[in-house]
C-alpha cells in the first residue's frame, strides 16, 4: 500500500496537496490539465521534490527522507530515459548497479530483460542508434531489472505514434502483472487511461484527488474532469 498522508508539495510558487492511498498492484493513470501538478505529484513520490508537510509511506516505511535512488521506485521520464553514449546493455545494467559492476548472474538477468522486451541481440547497440520505440523498450528492460515495487511514468511514450504507444502500454501492463508492481502513469490522453489503468487520479486545482475506478469515473465524470475533457 502506498499512502500519501496530508502531503503538501511545493514546486516553485506552486503547491499541491495529496491525501490518499493506493492499493499495491494497481495500475493508475494520473490525469488533469497541464500545469495542474501531475508531474509534481510523481516527482514528490520519486524524491525529486521535498514535502513541505505530511508523509509518504510504502509498506509501513516512510519514504520522504530517502534519496531518490534509495526509494522502492523506478521512474520513466518523458524523455532522456537513457544515456545515449552507453549501450543498451549498459543502460539496463545501471538498473542493477550504478557502478556497472555486474557479476555473471546479474549479466544474465540484464540480457534476459532485454530479451523479454523484444530486444534480443541488440544489447551492444548504443542507445543513440536505436529507434524511439526501441529506446522505450530498453528503459522498460531496466525497470524490470530494478525490481522496484513502484513504477512511476511521466508520459514516457508521448513521442511514439498511436499504435506503438498502445503496444508499449500493453507491454507495461504485462510486466506489471508479472512482477506485481504498482504503476502510476501521467498521461494527457484519456484514451491511455481507459486502455491501461484500473484507477485514475485526477489532479486539478492544486489537489491530487484519491484514485477512482476508471470505468466509473469516465461514466460519470465530476465537473473538473468534464471541463478537462471538453
Amino acid at each position: 500500500m502506498l499512502k500519501l498522508e496530508k502531503c503538501r508539495i511545493a514546486n516553485g510558487g506552486f503547491a499541491l496537496t495529496a491525501d490518499f492511498e493506493v492499493i499495491a498492484g494497481t495500475k493508475i493513470a494520473v490525469i488533469g490539465p497541464s500545469g495542474g501538478g501531475k508531474s509534481t505529484l510523481l516527482e514528490a513520490v520519486a524524491g525529486f521534490l521535498p514535502l513541505k508537510t505530511g508523509r509518504i509511506v510504502w509498506d509501513g516505511k516512510t519514504l520522504q527522507d530517502k534519496d531518490p535512488g534509495a526509494r522502492p521506485v523506478a521512474m520513466l521520464f518523458q524523455d532522456g530515459n537513457l544515456f545515449p553514449h552507453l549501450t543498451a546493455e549498459q543502460n539496463v545494467g545501471l538498473g542493477m548497479n550504478p557502478n556497472l559492476k555486474l557479476d555473471e548472474d546479474a549479466h544474465r538477468k540484464v540480457l534476459a530483460a532485454l530479451a523479454r522486451v523484444g530486444l534480443d541481440g541488440m544489447s551492444n547497440r548504443r542507445s543513440a542508434e536505436l529507434s524511439g520505440g526501441q529506446q522505450s523498450r530498453v528503459a522498460l528492460a531496466r525497470v524490470l531489472v530494478q525490481e522496484r515495487a513502484l513504477l512511476l511514468m511521466d508520459e514516457p511514450f508521448a513521442a511514439l505514434g498511436p499504435a506503438q504507444k498502445m503496444e508499449m502500454l500493453d507491454l507495461v501492463s504485462e510486466l506489471c502483472a508479472e512482477t506485481g508492481s504498482t504503476a502510476l502513469m501521467v498521461s494527457h490522453d484519456p484514451g491511455d487511461a481507459k486502455h491501461f489503468a484500473d484507477q485514475v487520479i485526477l489532479v486539478h486545482g492544486g489537489i491530487a484527488h484519491a484514485p477512482q475506478e476508471t470505468g466509473e469515473l469516465f461514466r460519470d465524470p465530476p465537473e473538473a474532469l468534464r471541463t478537462y475533457l471538453g
Binding site: P68, A70, A74, M75, G95, P98
Partner: protein
C-alpha cells in the same frame, strides 16, 4: 533548486576555487610584505607605467579600428575559404608568442620583407623595436580576436532586420546609421576593454620587442628588477603597481562586457541585399585580403625560415622540446583538475565561482604570481630547481578562466538533462562522474585540454623569471637563441615549437571528439 538533490557535491569545486584564490592572494600577500614602501616609484618606474598604458591603449584602438572593416566584410560576403579564414583567426590565441614575433621580425624587421621592399625604392628600413614593435605584435595577436568578436556582433543582428532594410530601400548611409553603428556602439567598448586588459599583461612581447628606458612595461621592469638586480623589494613594489593596473583593466573589461565571449558565432545564413556597389565590394575585398595577409605572412615566414634552420639545431633544442611537452601535459592535467570541479559547481548553481574565476584570471599576472612564489619559496629552497613545476602551475592558473568558460555551458546541459535519471538510479558521486559527466563532456574536455596544453607550451613568462641556464622550455630556448644571434637555429626551433603547440592542441581536441556522438 537548493532543495533539490544533486548527483555530485559542489564541495570539490569550492575547494578548487579556494585553492586558486589562496595561490593568488597568498602570493599577493608575500609580494606586499616584501615591497619597499619607503622608496616609492622612481622616474623609470613612472616611465614604465606610462609606456604600459600607452601601448595598451594604442594596441586596443588600432586592433579594433582595423577589425571593424574586416569583420564587416566577412559579415556581408560569402566566398570559398571564408569559414577557414574565420577559424584561422582563432589560431593566434594558441600561437606561441615567440613564434609570432619571429615571424613579425621576418616580415617587418630591419632585414625583413617590408624593409627590403622599401629599400628597392630607396626608403629606409622600418624600425620594429620599441613602441612600434610592441604595438605591431599586439595588433597581430588581437586583430583576429577583435574581428571575431565584432563579427559575432554582426551575426547577432537578426536576418529580419536586413530584410526590412532592403524592403525600405536603405542605402549605405542608412544601413550604417540605423543598423551597423548601433551594433558597434554596443559591441566595441567591450572588445576594446578586453584587448586593453590583455595587452597590459602581455610579457613576452615586451621582453622581445621592447626594452630600454623608452619601451619597458611594468611586467618587464619586474623581470629586470628580478633577473638583473635581484632587487626583490623593487620587484614586489612593481608587482603591486601591476596589480592595480590589471585589476582596474579587468574591472573595466567586465563592466563593458558584451556577453559575446570567447568562441565563434552561430554563423547563420543571412541574406544581404546591401553593399553590392563597386566601391563597397572593393573595400571588402581589400579588407579581407590585407587582414588575411597580415595574419598569414608572418606565419609563412616562420615556416620558410624554420625549414632552413632545421638542419643544424643545437641539441638543447630537443631536450627543451621534451621539457616543454612535459610541462604542457602537467599544466593541462592541473587545469582540468581545477576547472572541471569548478565548472560542475557553477552548473549546480554556484554562479559566483564562475565570476570569480573570470575576474581573477583577467587580473592575475603571471609575473606577479611568479614573484610571490619566488619570495615564498626562496627561504626554503632554491627557486630555480622548482622552475618547471612552478611554470606548469602558473600556466594552469592562467588557462583556468578560459577552461571554466568552455566547460560550464556543457556541464549545465548535462546536469539539467541527466540529474533526475541518475538520481533515480542511485548514480551519485563517482558513478555519475565516470558514467555520465565525463563521457558527456568529452568534446569540451578535449578542447579545454588542448587549449591548456597549447597555452602552456607556448608560454614565455614565469619560466624566464625562474630558469637557470641549464633548464629551459622551448620558448625560452628560442628566446635565448635569438639573443645570441643564432637566427637560423632560432627559426628552426620556433618551427618545432609551432608544430608541437598546434599538434598537441589538435591531438587533444581531436581525441575528445573521437567517437563522441550525440
Amino acid at each position: 533548486m537548493a532543495d533539490r538533490a544533486q548527483p555530485v557535491s559542489t564541495r570539490w569545486g569550492l575547494g578548487a576555487a579556494a585553492l586558486v584564490a589562496a595561490l593568488i592572494f597568498g602570493t599577493l600577500v608575500a609580494v606586499a610584505m616584501r615591497a619597499e614602501e619607503g622608496s616609492g616609484l622612481s622616474s623609470s618606474d613612472w616611465a614604465a607605467l606610462r609606456f604600459t598604458l600607452v601601448q595598451a591603449v594604442l594596441s586596443a584602438a588600432i586592433s579594433v579600428g582595423l577589425a571593424i572593416p574586416v569583420a564587416r566584410a566577412l559579415a556581408r560576403r560569402r566566398f570559398k575559404g571564408r569559414q577557414v579564414l574565420i577559424t584561422l583567426m582563432g589560431a593566434p590565441f594558441i600561437l606561441p608568442v615567440i613564434v609570432a614575433i619571429l615571424g613579425l621580425l621576418e616580415v617587418f624587421g630591419r632585414a625583413g620583407w617590408v624593409s627590403a621592399g622599401l629599400g628597392l625604392i630607396g626608403l629606409p628600413p622600418v624600425r620594429i623595436y620599441g613602441l612600434h614593435g610592441v604595438v605591431l605584435a599586439h595588433v597581430f595577436f588581437n586583430l583576429p580576436l577583435a574581428t571575431r568578436l565584432i563579427l559575432q556582433g554582426w551575426q547577432e543582428i537578426p536576418a529580419e532586420r536586413f530584410r526590412l532594410a532592403a524592403q525600405l530601400g536603405f542605402g549605405a548611409r542608412a544601413m550604417l546609421w540605423r543598423i551597423e553603428v548601433p551594433m558597434l556602439r554596443r559591441v566595441v567598448p567591450g572588445v576594446l576593454a578586453v584587448i586593453f586588459a590583455i595587452c597590459m599583461t602581455s610579457f613576452a612581447v615586451a621582453l622581445t620587442l621592447g626594452g630600454g628606458p623608452k619601451a619597458t612595461t611594468v611586467e618587464l621592469a619586474i623581470y629586470q628588477a628580478f633577473r638583473f638586480d635581484f632587487d626583490l623589494g623593487r620587484a614586489a613594489l612593481l608587482s603591486g603597481v601591476q596589480l592595480v593596473l590589471t585589476g582596474g583593466a579587468a574591472l573595466l573589461a567586465l563592466r563593458a562586457a558584451t556577453g559575446a565571449g570567447f568562441g565563434g558565432g552561430q554563423d547563420r545564413m543571412v541574406h544581404r541585399w546591401d553593399g553590392r556597389g563597386r566601391g563597397a565590394r572593393a573595400l571588402d575585398f581589400s579588407s579581407i585580403a590585407l587582414g588575411a595577409a597580415f595574419l598569414l605572412l608572418p606565419l609563412t615566414a616562420v615556416v620558410l625560415s624554420g625549414l632552413k634552420g632545421l638542419s643544424d639545431l643545437p641539441i638543447q633544442v630537443f631536450s627543451s622540446a621534451l621539457i616543454s611537452v612535459g610541462v604542457a601535459l602537467v599544466s593541462m592535467v592541473l587545469t582540468l583538475l581545477l576547472a572541471l570541479p569548478m565548472a560542475v559547481a557553477v552548473a549546480l548553481g554556484r554562479d559566483k565561482i564562475g565570476e570569480a574565476a573570470g575576474i581573477l584570471g583577467l587580473a592575475a599576472s603571471p609575473l606577479v604570481i611568479g614573484t610571490g612564489l619566488f619570495i615564498i619559496i626562496f627561504p626554503f629552497a632554491n627557486p630555480t630547481t622548482l622552475a618547471l613545476p612552478v611554470t606548469a602551475l602558473v600556466n594552469a592558473v592562467m588557462a583556468l578562466p578560459f577552461a571554466v568558460r568552455i566547460l560550464v555551458p556543457r556541464a549545465r546541459q548535462v546536469v539539467v538533462q541527466y540529474t533526475r535519471l541518475s538520481l533515480s538510479l542511485g548514480m551519485v558521486g563517482w558513478p555519475f562522474i565516470r558514467r555520465v559527466l565525463l563521457p558527456r563532456m568529452r568534446a569540451q574536455i578535449g578542447f579545454t585540454a588542448g587549449l591548456a596544453a597549447a597555452l602552456s607550451m607556448g608560454d614565455l613568462g614565469v619560466i624566464a623569471l625562474f630558469a637557470d641556464p641549464e633548464v629551459a622550455t622551448l620558448p625560452l630556448q628560442v628566446f635565448r637563441l635569438m639573443g645570441s644571434y643564432q637566427t637560423d637555429a632560432a627559426a628552426g626551433a620556433a618551427l618545432i615549437l609551432l608544430v608541437l603547440s598546434m599538434g598537441i592542441f589538435w591531438a587533444l581536441d581531436r581525441g575528445g571528439r573521437w567517437h563522441a556522438e550525440a
